[in-house]
Subunit: 192 residues, 2 copies
DNA sequence: CCTCTATGTTGACACTGAAAACATTCTAGC
DNA sequence: GCTAGAATGTTTTCAGTGTCAACATAGAGG
């Protein structure tokens, strides 16, 4: 116990929980400097392990990123599960994206091949199912797939455009206003 | 003239039009294997030039990508300019994205810092202005900024979700149907 | 003609993903 | 307990990349 402080169990040759530690390190990199800054070597470095060790847990770099993305879907799904109203879901969705831009970008990155990462595909499908269920409740008379796609497209596009600074520099309050207005506009379309 | 064939002017030490050639090579790479596969060295290789030559025309890799993105905005803007109806714009937008996924992704990549690339910012603003003008025509009674943002979010999100294979594997026809249905739904919202 | 400047080239450095060969530890089955 | 064999880490190595500095060449303007 002499060389380890609180929270870090003593580690010998074997790390004990490298996979989780790598995910944590990569998550920190994601927040600090974006997905492009994530490297297996830096993650290994931060985990205090050789540069090659990550390959025992992730087949390649993309697999690490896919795992990070899956985490994101899980968290977003958990938050969405606590919400009944469709508009709340929209707000929550955009807020998640703005709060964790790197993670959000990763979750919908075209670089991540879902066929190669079943976990990711499953996590993302769960969110999709959740949305469709919500939509059926709100607009039962319409084709739920179409409405769900429209609803998702709307909030997803808004989040993406905001992140890409495509809508100009909006301050916190006008951003909120825009989010409200856009989702309300959609709600009107549903009822009309 | 003995060493050059048609279309390729004879080149000595100086290339003559390296910048354009590099953009073309990078564009090909973008189509072939995505933005991630674009490297300055490979572009140089394809242009038949030393690995360091690109730096005379692009400050760094990101600047090359930004130039490619700006090209994309220009082309999309040109196409959009020939269209009057807002719904046509939506279709055109999504089709462009599906036709040139790599380019589209680049155009809205969060990695590209618009502040560092005024050309890109300008090209993107032009498209935005075009859209707002179209919106004012269709729904003059509403706040054009809100409606434009909603319209853009909708088509942008749909394009992005389709590209990310987030909506499941749709064949050509059901994809068209979905695009039609989603844009129509939005049109109803505008009139309602 | 001759210099100045734009454009290319060479060579180096640090970093990365990835694979192969080797070392250590943990865990079953005896 | 002891001991194979499976997991997990390490070392070493390779090819590729972005970027920079020092140098070479060509073209344009005086």
């Amino acid at each position: 116990m002499s060389t380890s402080s609180a929270g870090e169990p003593p580690r010998g040759y074997h790390h004990g929980d490298l996979r989780a530690t790598l995910l944590q390190a990569a998550g920190a990199l994601l927040v600090e400097s974006g997905a492009g800054a994530i490297s297996l070597r830096e993650a290994a470095r931060r985990a205090g392990v050789s540069h090659s060790a990550p390959y025992r847990h992730f087949a390649d770099r993309q697999s690490l990123l896919a795992a990070l993305a899956a985490e994101g879907f899980a968290e977003l799904g958990a938050r969405a599960g606590q919400v009944a109203d469709l508009a709340d879901f929209g707000r929550l969705y955009v807020e998640f994206a703005l709060e964790q831009p790197g993670r959000f970008g990763l979750m919908f990155s075209a670089e991540l091949d879902k066929a190669r990462h079943p976990d990711l595909a499953q996590a993302s499908k769960r969110l999709h199912d959740l949305l469709e269920a919500g939509v059926s409740r709100v607009a039962p008379s319409r084709d739920p797939q179409v409405v769900a796609t429209a609803a998702w497209s709307l909030v997803h596009g808004l989040a993406h455009l905001l992140l890409a600074q495509q809508l100009g520099a909006l301050d916190e309050s006008s951003r909120r206003t825009m989010i409200e207005a856009v989702t309300r506009l959609f709600g009107e379309g549903l009822r009309g």
